[in-house]
Symmetry: D2
Subunit: 356 residues, 4 copies
């Protein structure tokens, strides 16, 4: 009874695209969440009407939470009994569905690419640009709706934009090169064929480089009261797929306007406390950046789950013979880089009274 009462206080939420790879991660990460409780799971027509446990080809290392197993899968139409929805929908359907939900008054936390670059949609990393939530009233007014859409970045963008956040503020970033080595889980399921990746590197991920180059600049851009002025520095990205299950690694070179040292950058990141840390948001990592001293770290296999998979691991900060510094970034692409990012955004909205 005690327990029931506690649960009834939680905010009911729905998952769009609940049977897919990102949807499953939402379900796993929201198990035992102190603020949110999944009451609705929605997916494509093909599975709607089935029980979730029968509909999903579950690929997590823990079992389907008991409370979710027997939920009926609903269609992705704005008739779910909740006000907040997390979207892990495929990009080929996410666009209009998310709009429908927002128009109908839902608050949509989207992990899809479709609306990230919309002028009135916030693309938010709570540690970096929480002020971009200022776009919400703009969006509501533009679209004449009570609901709204908030997005998180592409998984590869995440670790780059997160690392650049404090650096840009302190030293002004002027140019950025980034080459990624991305995990197969980023491609969903079944995603990458084993014959394509065993003993191999695939030097191409469709659309990924473009996303990194533009999203990074929006996230590090400036909210001018009506829209976001993109950060002015160019980003040049090259994206590769490697035989790693979880964890994107990024080799980065940056040029800065102000002089600094590798030690100063390390210290800046190591001691950085962002809004989620100050607000003690439930999914926030204790520290947003895990700065590693060993010269051969971070490594996905050993570090991907550090700080609940919500930190950006940073290593090998060292001088660059062309720009100023080279460094290696690594983070959990389906946690901090996807579902965990949406959930942290929702927690920030809640803490700021924006879920009401």
């Amino acid at each position: 009874m005690e327990n029931k009462k506690a649960m009834s206080v939680k905010i009911p939420v729905g998952i769009l695209g609940a049977t897919g790879a990102v949807g499953q991660k939402f379900i796993k990460l929201l198990e035992d969440h102190p603020w949110f409780e999944i009451t609705e799971v929605a997916a494509s027509e093909r599975t709607s009407g089935k029980l979730y446990g029968d509909a999903a080809s579950w690929k997590q290392v823990t079992p389907i939470p008991a409370a979710i197993h027997n939920l009926e899968v609903k269609p992705c139409t704005p008739e779910l009994k909740c006000r907040v929805v997390f979207s892990g929908l495929d990009a080929n359907v996410a666009g209009p569905i998310e709009e429908d939900f927002a128009r109908a008054g839902y608050i949509v936390l989207s992990n899809s690419k479709n609306h990230r670059l919309d002028e009135d949609v916030p693309l938010v990393i709570p540690e970096v640009n929480p002020d971009h939530l200022g776009l919400i009233p703009v969006q509501r007014q533009n679209r004449q709706s009570k609901g709204y859409i908030v997005t998180n970045s592409n998984c590869t963008t995440m670790f780059l934009a997160m690392a650049l956040g404090p650096i840009h503020k302190a030293f002004k970033v002027e140019k950025v090169f980034m080459v990624s080595m991305q995990a197969v889980s980023g491609a969903g399921y079944p995603g990458v064929a084993s014959l394509d990746i065993l003993g191999n590197v695939i030097p191409y991920i469709g659309g990924e480089e473009e996303k990194v180059e533009i999203e990074t600049r929006k996230i590090l851009g400036t909210f001018n009261g009506k829209t976001i002025d993109l950060a002015e520095f160019p980003v040049s990205a090259q994206c590769n797929r490697v035989a790693v299950e979880d964890g994107h690694t990024e080799s980065v070179s940056i040029k800065l306007a102000k002089k600094t040292t590798a030690a100063e950058i390390a210290s800046l990141l190591e001691n950085y406390i962002g809004v989620p840390q100050k607000l003690r948001l439930p999914s926030a990592p204790e520290k947003p950046y895990l700065v590693m001293e060993a010269q051969d770290r971070p490594q996905p296999r050993f570090d991907v789950n550090r700080h609940k998979g919500m930190a950006t691991c940073v290593g090998r900060i060292r001088p660059c013979s062309i720009f100023d510094f080279k460094l290696t970034l690594m983070g959990h692409n389906t946690v901090r880089g996807a579902a965990g990012a949406s959930i942290l955004n929702a927690e920030l909205l809640k803490a700021q009274g924006l879920l009401e």
Copy 2:
């Protein structure tokens, strides 16, 4: 009898470090070589006196050549019955041993790093800087010896320097970023522990970045009659290890002095015929560059053995938002990037009468 006579015409050669990973590759690649015949295999004290078949932990996909199986392993001292030696020695011993051999009149084709940067030692890629062999008389005079040392580059440098060769000549390279994803075979045997690389990326390879940054500039430098003037452009390298058996992949960005197009660069490389091709050297690939059109190529698993593993595969030539062009390089790190490179150098020396 006929056969014996034919064989007696071949140039006898020795392998230093014959039991190691590079030594084994020399033995494999020299099987049935039209010009060279291995008559001596030398390795560390520990194995000398044994038969090669007993001494080597053979890790090639074809068996030990019959003619080599029963050769007695000799110590690495300049008493081998041959004039030409290929060195696959570990860097921690290669330095003085190679010098000893050269001083004693041997011609040393070295795959080791130790003498690559010596002022009077050629660091040669036959398609790119065959004229650097002009250092040989300088070296002989400097060191008062009839023998000499010729080196080939580090395996990661190889594909970068090879690709930059024609591009630099045509359009003058000004700056180069390179991030590598390197195969485990580059670390020898046992080399990388499986627990370190399964499902992982290691963002550090000791000394590798420094080698790429300086060797590239020596190879693309200018022979001034006495020494090499380094190419002036800076190279910024970041080196990673990935779970690939053979084949280094490199994501590269280049800035050029002259305007050009991706199509022009592709055409330049595709149609490039170098000295080894003109001389029809036995180990030369038909074409030094394999330019691939598919947007997701080259890939190590599918392309590493194209053109006998002696070509540099080039793909994804496209504009860069900071420099001028981005491209992906890939090649066989233990063939073109190691033993095959030494052999091609020896073939060039022979064709130019420098083995006499």
Copy 3:
């Protein structure tokens, strides 16, 4: 001209399911075949009418043969200009299509499971049961057709049945346990998802265990003039998928009626010369069994391509504490275990005048 004439003598053949994984392997293995020349490629409706180079998602490590690149893909109907067809069709369509072709007078070399167990269809390994081709006249009469179907075994069955062949003849097999560790290429393309196999073992392959248990007994059975009496010994199979690209490994235990020794079995296999070897069939391995002495061999990565991928590698023959002997088998699942097996069957047919 000389060349053209030579080619015109070759037997024109067609490939059914030409764009799939097995179809591609047929095309690769038949490049430069001395007796057969591919003149027709056929595949599903979806691709028919396209050029082969455009229709196939080519996944071999050598390029599409020039002669095949521009062939038009035909539908899988018996209107191909050739008399011999190799079938790499999916099991869900192969059954009736192969029957249609045979009825229309074609000779069908099938790699599909559908007709392997038909009473009047030979399931042949040329080294083991070439006499089963005696079913061909039976089949022709039964089905009143001039064409006929000859099948080769499932890829896992192949290495077991091949190894058991001479052993059964010499020592009479009484019981067989087999546990397989199968390569991902056995599942076609895209086949096994990378998220399912990286760092994993999948202890289940649908239908595989049943195939191994029955096909082995048919292959080692006795042709009684009208049909095949199955070999009487039971086979117990357990099949697993592992993160290997090519090469199935099998841990086997066998009980024999007659006493023998591990050395005798090794010698028996090592010295075995089958019909394909006697007839010097073009695709026959020099020796059908590669018996390996090193206690840790065979291994797929190092041995899968020995003897052109057409041998069965045998190692670790040693006493078993329950049955008589334990041993390890390994072979190339898409060469000897699939396309290469069909081709060898066709060569046997040709050598015996059965393609006329």
Copy 4:
């Protein structure tokens, strides 16, 4: 102060071979253990005197526990300030060192093979043969020492013997075939070279098959008051290494004296409650057997950490065409199969008053 007092109640323990792979796992698993507290870490001469954090090449996915980081590494001599030691020593040194400790009065929980088969040393799995601890007084008397040695099984034996335990008791096992597919972590660090296992299966693990065949029979044997009568059934084992980080998979066939069904076996295991479960030992899994219904489970990647890595996962129980049943076993080889097993043994000793 409160905390200190709580800690002072814990039993101080030492780790022998603390820097190695098993030693590290002991340290990780004992972090926050309710009963034991590591106060001593001992390793080879080479590292003794160093701080643990400097001496160990730490390969766990969580950092070195703060309390351990600054412990001084001691030599492996019986002068440690604790009475209980866990041994993760290499087999080539474990024998006499463990004896020295026992002679000096220490209680040695050994993960090494050296004393497992000693007549008076218990080889214990708490769910299966807790009564074998009756050997302790025998051992003490034999060896005239207050200390004693208790061992846990080889990692591959563990899952087989655990699964057979209840089955043997209920249905009497008569014969067992087992083929393993073992993770690389079982070979320690650096252990298996990446060049040996990427895309490969190694069909040999030195001494492993012999261990499985005899240890299983000792564990399932009968304590006769003075020694163990081996179980009478023969075990035939074949051991393979595969490219899996953690988790040994085993394909098993069993012959039983009594008739039963797959469903009965599943039910027997699923409902089995052993001594550790009854005693609620801290490291005991809630259920010792995780019986999985999906026909393609268990799988190491998805199931290895179920029930804290302490359960034996069982799947695919089905009829065998030669014996009675085939099934697939899987478990965490360095947790339940090594360090976790020793710890559970120590907990059982404590619960039974044998640590006093």
